[in-house]
């Protein structure tokens, strides 16, 4: 059945025929370049664009003072407004001070280099813990704390006092850059009363609503189109200050304006992920049964209150993890810091929940002298308890967690590695190896308010079928997967079905692609819509043939009488009965994919280097629509998880400016040379919440892999107090922990 999954995107993308925003040619287009603050925090004294305006090839240059009425970022607070261009106070490094438009990016950069700015620096705070102390206020007279929240109920003191063991620890989930291959892009083309916006974006309908509101014009007058998009990982789901400036100027000048973010800008001002300081307490009885778990989160949310200040609540809601812990309490403080905002990055709140729990489980196992696999087995939620309501307010749909753990151990050859570990421990010349486990549960589909999408299936006279949905691919192979799913439902050749998405003119609404929701929600929706199309076809045929509907049937893309052989294909039916198009708003509940990841590492304690010898990932995403795509997603997210564990981080100078002058030579992403042997396995527990049964896939590696690797390093070094192992586990960190 390989043909069913014939890939549609590869030839175009692999032969350079893809069309990304930067490839679109529009006459008279201007390129925008932003003049950016080189300080993290300070008072803006002067912006002088006059020399820039005299630069050849420059069409104009503006500071905030030159653009009265430029709207601020949406979703904030009036008292702590986020202006699209800095007005009087810089609050994060790279914040835009002015914009220069040029015939091309070269000329615009020449102009930007001639904009003169003066900023009086202020002390900067770059971690939530520092910022929460309020010794440096980002907004005078206001606390840096932007939001407080909790999940579960406070745990009584006597629970901790009576427990046989209580483990307490602190962790830092470092700031990470989502790092898609294509950075952010927007091209705004005004044409008469309409504004067409091309953007590599995850949520085109939301971008349309936000831009229309910001520009104070009707939604219908704005069309957002998402062409080929080179990755997103959560970083392309919002509106950004630069987008506002570009759209505003395009409308004001009546000319197409484009911003194609480059890597250097991206490292300064793209949204970042994670960024939490955490404290945990975990109590167990003498047999290792978990009694209580408390997670305290201080989350960096960046310089301005925005839609994302509540995102750290995801960590609180998911704090229970895959265990039957009866008492769980999680509290969150979202704190403003002098960094670009944090926003969902692949995993988005679940890695931050999984990592502290899984690391603490290993400390507990060591304390109880229990095998870490056995400790987990004693506490995993058994299959018969689903749907399972957690103390932190989630209702897990389904799962067989012990099966995933057992499959991971078998795949790894767990006992064999334990024997190898013992052998090396007896040999002073051998480098130590460590084995790390991580059991996770995540949430896919979205939160209330984003658990629906618009879907459509339309049959044409020529025999083709067009599927439409509100998702927007940034590389997830929707054009391969969704037509195949619709074709399978209708019983037609996949080649006859094509997908249209990422264009706000094509559907009345759309939610987009994030939170592992496209297969689960849009996929189930398309299957549902295809089913409705079959029902409609049968009703039309019944009327045509003067039969009761029950006397008609559907097979192989055609309707036919139950008795008799005369079948009518979709094309003929449309010719006879007119246009046939189903449009639906489909809604489903969230789901909870899960699995177990395992890592084996070898550590050189003298240098602190970590070599990952093996990674095993057992993921359960219910029904996999296209196994190759799911494997690709798992592989990619594991590599990003490897990045968080060992390589990626944003070092700051004392002045709060990231030390990333050499771009990706300083912010180290794992490359091919760093990728260890990876074994992917799956268990299949379809979600009962849709007929399709697909749950989200694609974030598991970012969630499950980092704690597995860190646990393996702690195991190799036999650390009783692994707090010094804070990610990324760079060689100096590991060397110090080992010393």
């Amino acid at each position: 059945m390989v043909d069913r999954w014939l890939r549609r995107e590869d030839e175009r993308l692999l032969t350079g025929a893809g069309r990304f925003v930067a490839d679109l040619r529009v006459d008279g287009r201007l390129d925008a370049v932003f003049v950016r603050s080189e300080v993290a925090h300070g008072v803006l004294r002067e912006v002088d664009c006059s020399a820039a305006r005299e630069t050849p090839g420059v069409a104009g240059a503006w500071s905030a003072a030159d653009l009265p009425g430029l709207p601020p970022m949406p979703g904030g607070e009036p008292a702590r407004e986020w202006p699209a261009l800095v007005e009087d106070r810089v609050r994060y490094p790279g914040e835009a001070l002015a914009v220069v438009l040029g015939d091309d990016r070269y000329h615009a950069e020449d102009g930007a280099a001639r904009v003169r700015t003066r900023i009086d620096p202020l002390p900067a705070v770059v971690t939530a813990r520092d910022a929460a102390a309020d010794s440096v206020a980002l907004f005078d007279g206001l606390s840096n704390v932007a939001l407080r929240g909790e999940a579960g109920s406070p745990i009584a003191g006597e629970v901790w006092e009576r427990a046989a063991v209580v483990v307490e620890s602190r962790y830092r989930q470092q700031l990470l850059m989502p790092s898609p291959m294509e950075c952010r892009t927007i091209l705004c083309v005004p044409e008469g009363d309409r504004l067409t916006v091309w953007s590599g974006h995850q949520a085109p309908h939301r971008l349309r609503s936000e831009l229309a509101a910001l520009l104070d014009r009707p939604e219908e007058s704005v069309r957002v189109v998402v062409p080929d998009t080179g990755g997103a990982f959560g970083s392309k789901s919002a509106v950004f200050p630069e987008f506002i400036v570009v759209a505003w100027l395009a409308v004001r000048l009546g000319r197409p304006v484009r911003w194609v973010e480059d890597r250097r800008e991206s490292l300064l001002v793209a949204t970042r992920g994670r960024g939490q300081d955490q404290h945990v307490r975990l109590a167990a009885d003498a047999d290792g049964r978990l009694l209580a778990y408390e997670l305290t989160v201080e989350a960096d949310v960046g310089a301005y209150p925005h839609l994302g200040v509540a995102f750290p609540m995801q960590t609180a809601w998911m704090a229970t993890g895959p265990y039957t812990t009866p008492l769980v309490h999680a509290t969150v403080r979202s704190v403003l810091t002098n960094t670009m905002i944090t926003y969902p990055y692949r995993g988005a709140g679940r890695p931050e929940a999984t990592s502290p729990l899984e690391r603490t489980m290993d400390v507990l196992a060591r304390r109880l002298d229990l095998d870490p696999a056995e400790l987990r087995r004693r506490n995993l939620i058994p299959p018969e308890l689903f749907p399972y309501r957690t103390p932190t307010g989630r209702t897990y749909d389904s799962g067989d967690h012990p099966a995933a753990l057992d499959l991971a151990l078998r795949t790894l050859g767990y006992d064999g590695w334990r024997a190898e570990q013992a052998r090396r421990r007896a040999d002073p010349a051998a480098l130590p190896v460590g084995i790390g486990l991580s059991c996770y549960v995540e949430r896919s589909g979205g939160e209330r308010g984003s658990l629906h999408d618009y879907v459509g299936v339309e049959a044409g006279e020529d025999g083709t079928v067009v599927a439409r949905c509100g998702a927007a691919s940034s590389g997830q192979s929707h054009s391969t997967v969704f037509p195949a799913l619709v074709a399978e439902t209708l019983g037609v050749e996949p080649a006859r079905v094509r997908l249209i998405e990422g264009d706000t003119d094509e559907l009345p609404g759309g939610v987009g692609s994030f939170g592992s929701r496209s297969a689960q929600i849009d996929g189930a929706g398309l299957q549902h819509a295809a089913g409705l199309l079959i029902e409609e076809a049968r009703e039309r045929a019944a009327r045509m043939w003067d039969l009761p509907v029950e006397e008609t049937a559907w097979s192989e893309g055609a309707v036919h009488p139950v008795r008799g052989t005369a079948a009518m294909g979709l094309s003929e039916l449309v010719k006879r009965t007119g246009p046939l198009r189903i449009d639906e708003r489909y809604e489903a509940d969230m789901a909870f994919p899960f699995g177990t990841h395992a890592a084996v590492v070898e550590v050189d304690p003298d240098l602190g280097t970590v070599r990952v010898l093996r990674l095993v990932a057992v993921d359960d995403c219910g029904r996999a629509l296209d196994p190759a795509v799911v494997r690709g997603q798992a592989f990619g997210s594991i590599v990003q998880g490897l990045g968080q564990a060992l390589y990626e981080g944003v070092p700051f100078g004392d002045d709060g400016v990231p030390l990333l002058a050499n771009g990706l030579l300083d912010y180290l992403l794992p490359t091919y040379a760093e990728i260890p042997p990876i074994d992917l396995r799956e268990t299949r527990t379809p979600t009962p919440r849709t007929p399709l049964g697909a749950k989200g896939a694609g974030e598991s590696g970012c969630i499950g892999t980092p704690p597995a690797i860190v646990n393996a390093v702690a195991d190799a070094l036999r650390l009783d107090h692994p707090e010094r192992l804070q990610m990324p586990l760079t060689p100096d960190v590991v060397w110090r922990a080992a010393a």
């Binding site: 070269y106 280099a113 240098l607 602190g608 981080g649 030579l665 040379a673 060689p731 100096d732």
Partner: protein, 284 residues
Amino acid sequence: MKPSAFDYVAPRTVADAVDALAAGAQVLAGGQSLLLDMHLQRAHPALVADINHVPGLDELTASDGTLTVGALVRHQTFESPGAVPGPLGDLFARAVVTIAHPPIRARGTMAGSLAWAHPASEWCALAVALDAVVELRSTRGTREIPAGEYFLGPFQTAREPDELLTAVRYPLLAPDTGVAFTEHRRTGFSFAQVAVGAALTVRDGVITEARIGLANCADRPLRAHAAERTLIGAEPSSPAFTMAGEAASTEDAAPVPEPYADVDYRRHVIAVLVARTLREAAPV
């Protein structure tokens, strides 16, 4: 990340190239450093002289005990140990695979690395350890500078702006020289946190000659003279190598802090890496 406007010339002779340099040109050879600096707006040359069309600069020759590496010899050339005779070829082959990744090695040049003078450059560390000589040409003539006097600091050398680095010369190593090169870095493609190259000669059971080059252990490439002194006359043994590592770390090196590598850690790594490199280089 766009360069400022610049003019471009492609000279066909060394004479034309040095004329362009006299007119203020910067040299484009492999382009792996200059172009990056131009895109990052750290270099703003008004004129770029592309020397890739000058015949003869790509020659690699060995005669009379000297290896001459022309300005256009790419890193990649040295991946084959047979490209250079004797243990020197072996040492270069061990070092070259630690330089960036294959596409960069296919374009970048050894001479370009010496001209750029990044403190973490592997070639620069080997040049000072092996007593290489740098040949510089300008409209004023030709001069040669020993590598030990050539490097002055990060990205700073004795080369005048109008001088073209036309060749690097190395004395070949005696056939019984043991060589090794090791590097400590965060990923397969990142800059070295520390790199060490070593060449050891052992006669009658004692070390008679030792050359140790250190990359990214100071503001410029270093030859670890203090470490070498501890070795001369010693038996090749782990304690001797450990002592040499300590000497390199505490006496020769002057590391500066970097993110993920403060001075204490870097000194520790230097000691470990020098000892390991010497153990590997020791002829058996």
